[in-house]
Amino acid sequence: MNGGILVLAEQLKGEPTGVAFEMLGVGRTIADELGVQLEAVVIGGEGDEIASGLGAADKVLKVDMGDDQMPVSDTVVSILDQVSDKRSPALILIGCTNVSQGIGTRLAERRGLAHLNFCTKVNIEDGRPVFTSQLFGGKIFADATLPEDKGVVSIYPGAFPAEAGKSEKTPEVEKIDVEVPESPVVFKRFIEPEIGDVDITGYDVLVSVGRGIQNPDNIELAEELAAAMGGAVSASRPVIDQGWLPLTRQVGKSGMNVKPKLYLALGISGAPEHQEGMKNASMIVAVNTDDKAPIFDISHYGTTIDLFDLVEVLKDKLEEAKGT
């Protein structure tokens, strides 16, 4: 590979996000195997606190933003473009997150580079990084290389160990001066999730419903089952987008990250964006009529019977068991 690796150390509300460390971890592995430099870019942030926590990088490049602590994606693209001019990296890693959405794509377009999205695995084969990406809701994978091993890769959060990107070392920090353009998009404020409804992150048991629940009236079935187990009802995105349950119940990329003792998934396919919020549950049980649904790949137990045939029976048996 002809050049180093540049990682955008993503931040949200002044803190580095998990994917920043995941990218540093996988970036470190590639850099060591191929004998190239790993550099992290920190945009904004108070003082040097964030930069000094990125010791997995050989060097941290710090761009000051003054009062602007939430630079919009077009601004980040312009900054990374200028930093890339100065550093000529071969590979640029960006988080495949909602925060960074659009940055990798636009940067690649501006620099005439290839962009690989949704990357969940990297292998070095014959001295070249081969990237695995997930497509079609996690049902298909693709292995691909970049032309001349140069380009932008968006790293899927939760796919790589964050621990590998954490280091006690103090990195060398270099301040980089760039021109920060005015953007027609202006950040105004954060909107916190509404409280008042159930906090699904606090439950040991979650009965989670997906599109397979079919209509809002059927949510009650899940409510009853959850009640029989002392749990709460959570859901995948389509159920929330349909307005059948409030946003506070959404599990996944845009929703909550949950780690219950039991996650019972009813009629959920297990798309990557959903998995992002629940794959660390202690036990996952999936009920899905499609035996190829990706949810089964991360579940401990599964069944392909129709959820509507199972739920009532399961509830009755649970109540019976409690009675005895």
Binding site: V185, I191, L314
Partner: protein, 262 residues
């Protein structure tokens, strides 16, 4: 306000997906195409603005199987114009699709004015190479914001909208966007409206799909796909077979063994 919704057709993943003989593509024969969920949301968000502030909604899409149905449905829902762009393109290249759509936008409005919003879906499931919205924004030199779940005009300020974008954990951000702009819609403020089949049939009868031909400029910066495959399963679930009674009994046993039930 003038809203152009760029709709994208993607394979329906509820159907089984098969790999083509070359091992690098999906088997086109085996797939059923449908409008991507986020482009349906993009259309709905445009129609919500049409209802609330009187926007003119145009829907355009690159040719694909089942596209006519999607366009007729958009027309029945309230799009004033529905346009098909031929010929068909390979869905895995956002940069190629964007170069076609850039030409389309130029044909349509020259250089988009401060009353113009271009909506795309936030992100597509078949897009290995980048996303359409930011690529198109870059090609047109317009601002971009993605993962948006609400768009409203800023009161008293022409040519500005307030956009709400999702982050994670239910946290969202409010942004002010000066138009023209490209916006990636993740979800509309409301679920997609229902349109009775009679209305779609009426749209079909009036034969209102316009058509335009644009040949893409193909750039040589594509990734090299080595292979596409159904993922090898690493930690597959232990499957519980039997009738509902048997499955329920086994599940309860498992819950008890693992200290989940009291």
């Amino acid at each position: 306000m003038n809203i152009i919704v760029l709709m994208k057709m993607v394979p329906d993943v509820v159907e089984p997906l098969e790999i083509a003989e070359d091992g690098k593509n999906l088997d086109k024969e085996a797939i059923r195409m449908m409008a991507s969920e986020s482009s349906e949301h993009a259309l709905e968000q445009a129609l919500i603005l049409k209802d609330s502030v009187g926007a003119e909604v145009t829907v355009a899409a690159i040719e694909a199987p089942e596209l006519d149905d999607a366009l007729f449905s958009a027309s029945a829902k309230g799009a004033v114009r529905v346009i098909k762009i031929t010929p068909e393109q390979d869905g895995l290249r956002a940069d190629i699709s964007a170069s076609v759509l850039k030409e389309f936008i130029k044909q349509e409005c020259g250089s988009p004015g401060s009353d113009t919003l271009i909506f795309t879906g936030s992100q597509a499931i078949d897009d290995l190479q980048g996303e359409l919205g930011p690529t198109l924004a870059e090609q047109l030199g317009l601002p971009f914001i993605g993962v948006v779940t609400s768009i409203k005009p800023v009161e008293g300020e022409e040519g500005k909208v307030t956009a709400i974008k999702e982050y994670s954990g239910g946290l969202r951000g409010e942004y002010e966007v000066a138009l023209p702009a490209v916006v990636g819609i993740q979800a509309a403020e409301q679920p997609s409206r229902y349109v009775p089949f009679a209305k779609i049939r009426a749209a079909m009868k009036s034969g209102s799909i316009e058509s335009t031909e644009i040949t893409p400029e193909v750039e040589g910066r594509g990734v090299e796909i080595a292979r596409m495959y159904v993922p090898e399963v690493t930690g597959r679930a232990e499957m519980i077979e039997g009738d509902p009674e048997t499955v329920a009994a086994r599940l309860i046993e498992i819950f008890k063994q693992n200290g989940i039930l009291g």
